[in-house]
Assembly symmetry: C2
Homo-oligomer: 302 residues x 2
């Protein structure tokens, strides 16, 4: 395999090209797909999910530098055999890369070192490898180390969960210690881990990034100080309630250092009153375009 | 689907029947399989992994009430398509259940509520559903709640990561707060979550259990107090260094309340000097039998 450039350098270049630091999440939910993409036959349903994803990719490609397929939504799709939805996931990853987008695999995997190696091999190597993977740091440095080793070698990246966007995340992550909260402790671990040899790109950012909920802007602002070299993946815009201004808190003053994700508010825009008068494709395109412009304008990029 | 009995009741019954609270982990590692189970052709390799797992299941079935397939080791096995190893995983789950063993799916999944629902559907429903799943509680109660809902409805269980057995787990989990460590905080969350309506079985244990590394017996003893209703899944015996006496610290004085896992020390017993003179099957059988006896004797069960 030819060594590709550092993940952070690739991501920043892609953001520059598209003009906005945004990412669309691909979360196929059979309850919400347009009617034409639902079928009773499980294999036909799989094919329709694949076709819907491919069309979403085509629609959003002009506006977004990256997409984030949510693997759980594919893992639960069974054809004639369990887990056949993951072959659709692999196809979506390949197609997105062919269309020139970066792919963040939203898998939130994590385990002890030897097992993490298997996950890293599963998701960060081969033709269907994602450019970056979300991972869970509960096991600490030896668990994350196996992922980092492959990223260093193959020009790929990670986003480690630090502060999540969901309501009960605070019950766990805001646990108070003598030197700040638990999520700040995790942030320091990520900062240290991501500063290792060969992990920081020419752009000054590490291939080890962090997931920081856009729903908590004050915390994002503080985490920006604790993790100066991390690119933040900011979930929570749109359906989860964060505004573009909230998202801006996770960026550096120069408008770099983060990428905002929106899933439901874009891919299910046909269910949104603002867009529902149009066909589903036009609705998705309008939502993706507005999302990209909204974020670019708020962070001063593009 | 016919509602099956509560997971904790089923597990305790199975432990009684086999006479030892033990679980064998199935972690197929191509580097360590007996030579006869390695092939260059990827589809042939998949079939051989399936065959090896099936033979392991047959060998250990008389001694152990449960097995714990490590999904990462299947997820990284690709046939002609990525992730085809997961269909081997599904077959292993089905076969283990047919042989009368309970299956703990070691997947350590975790995400926000809506996404966790998809993982729960993927792993805890359908013919290939595991009896219990390891999960990561980083997202807090709303993330775990989606798993719990399905467990309540379908008589299945969870093991939430509390204190892991790997060396760097302490860097994260032993983070000190005003009221104890972070892992104690997580333990309290698990205790509360597992005490919900319909979650505690006739045996007095909850279907929401906890992963507690056997490599830290003092911590396991204290966690036993904080989580009186949790069944502990204790990894770390054997290859990771914990002894049967270390494991006993996670049990109640009456010898209930935990199940000890061993993976490499049993399934790769042919690589162990103590057993390597025999054929691989005999080595695995001896190791499984000794493991079950060692634990039963240390905890006073059986």
């Amino acid at each position: 395999m030819i060594q590709q450039p550092h993940f952070a350098d690739r991501l920043l270049t892609a953001i520059d090209e598209k003009g906005s630091p945004v990412c669309v999440g691909l979360d196929p939910d059979l309850q919400k797909l347009p009617d034409a993409f639902r079928a009773d036959d499980p294999m036909q349903q799989l094919a329709l999910v694949g076709s819907w994803c491919e069309q979403i990719l085509e629609i959003v490609a002009p506006y977004v530098p990256a997409v984030k397929p949510q693997i759980a939504r594919f893992e639960c799709l069974h054809g004639t055999e369990p887990f056949m939805g993951l072959s659709v996931y692999a196809s979506v990853v390949r197609r997105a890369k062919e269309m020139g987008m970066l792919v963040i695999g939203d898998a939130k995997r994590g385990d002890i070192g030897s097992t993490a190696s298997a996950y890293a091999q599963a998701h960060l190597t081969g033709e269907h490898a994602v450019d970056s993977l979300t991972v869970n740091g509960y096991f600490g440095a030896d668990g994350l180390g196996s992922f980092v080793d492959i990223c260093r070698r193959e020009g790929r990246g990670l986003f480690v969960l630090v502060r999540t966007s969901n309501p009960s995340g605070a019950d766990i992550q805001n646990f108070e210690g003598a030197d700040g909260t638990f999520y700040q402790h995790m942030a320091r671990q990520v900062d240290t881990l991501g500063s290792g040899e060969g992990l920081v790109g020419d752009c000054g950012f590490s291939c080890v990034g962090a997931v920081v909920g856009a729903t908590c802007p004050a915390e994002a602002r503080m985490l920006r100080q604790l993790m100066p070299r991390q690119i933040f993946l900011l979930p929570g815009y749109g359906a989860q309630g964060a505004t573009a201004e909230d998202c801006a808190a996770g960026f550096r003053p120069d408008g770099t250092g983060a990428i905002v994700n929106a899933s439901r508010s874009v891919i299910y825009a046909h269910l949104d009153d603002r867009y529902s008068g149009e066909g589903w494709k036009k609705a998705v395109e309008s939502a993706a375009k507005n999302f990209a412009e909204d974020i670019a304008s708020a962070v001063g990029a593009g």
